[in-house]
């Protein structure tokens, strides 16, 4: 089963809006999304920082939330995006 990570912030409105879309994606496609909150969980924050060399260049040079990341392929997409775009990205 395909799996990817979602780095998100508890008080990030973009992340909050993406949550129902992530649930829908999981139900519709069977992908598994591991949700990792980064502002209230230092372990998750450090994990995101570790991936900065891969994530940063595709997200304006910064660590932004939400960021969707496939650790095996290194595929990254960040920000509040439409469901179809997310689904297309998740299918890659």
């Amino acid at each position: 089963m395909k799996k990817f990570l979602m780095f998100h912030g508890r008080e990030c409105p973009h992340c909050t809006r993406m949550m129902p879309l992530i649930e829908r994606l999981e139900k519709e496609t069977g992908v598994e999304v591991e949700r990792l909150e980064v502002w209230h969980n230092e372990k998750n924050a450090d994990l995101m920082r570790q991936y900065r060399p891969v994530i940063g260049p595709k997200c304006g040079g910064q660590l932004r939330t939400p960021t969707f990341f496939e650790p095996v392929t290194g595929e990254v997409i960040c920000g509040e995006i439409e469901y179809e775009k997310l689904k297309e990205w998740a299918a890659l």
């Binding site: 990030c12 973009h14 502002w39 209230h40 920082r49 910064q62 660590l63 939330t65």
Partner: protein, 142 residues
């Protein structure tokens, strides 16, 4: 390197490469002298400034007023962001943007303190519907 400057007339403090020609507080010309970090800290401690969320909102509204952007009219969104900004100050030391993450490089992370320099970000620059990354500030509609 940026350093600290103190107005010898009114003790106004400036941080930068060079001092203002005219003190914005007492209006005296060529009044700044370079000072140490210790002196800056002592002068700065004369006044205790604490911001509640409502005060910060007032401050950013005043900041936006003369500019081409405004605080997002979506009050629920702003409320969530302010909650995050204040949680970050309490837990991580400064009012970091809740929609980005610090790198643990203090100088670099200063760029994430709200309000940040979002005018140069791709989410704002050249866009009619421009907004800062988190959406706290949006371009004012004509």
């Amino acid at each position: 390197m940026k350093t600290y400057w103190r107005c010898f007339v009114c003790n106004d403090i400036h941080y930068g490469f060079r001092p203002p020609e005219i003190c914005p507080t007492c209006k005296v010309k060529n009044a700044y002298v370079e000072v140490t970090s210790e002196e800056y800290r002592k002068v700065g401690s004369l006044t205790t400034v604490e911001f509640a969320k409502a005060d910060f909102r007032t401050a950013i509204e005043a900041f936006a007023a003369p500019n081409e952007f405004e605080v997002n009219p979506d009050r629920a969104k702003v409320e969530m962001l302010l909650e995050g900004i204040f949680n970050n100050e309490r837990n991580h030391g400064l009012k970091y943007c809740p929609c980005r993450l610090t790198s643990k490089n203090f100088e670099e992370d200063l760029k994430l303190v709200c309000p940040c320099n979002f005018l140069v970000h791709e989410t704002y620059q050249g866009r009619e519907d421009g907004e800062c990354w988190c959406g706290l500030f949006v371009r004012r509609k004509p």
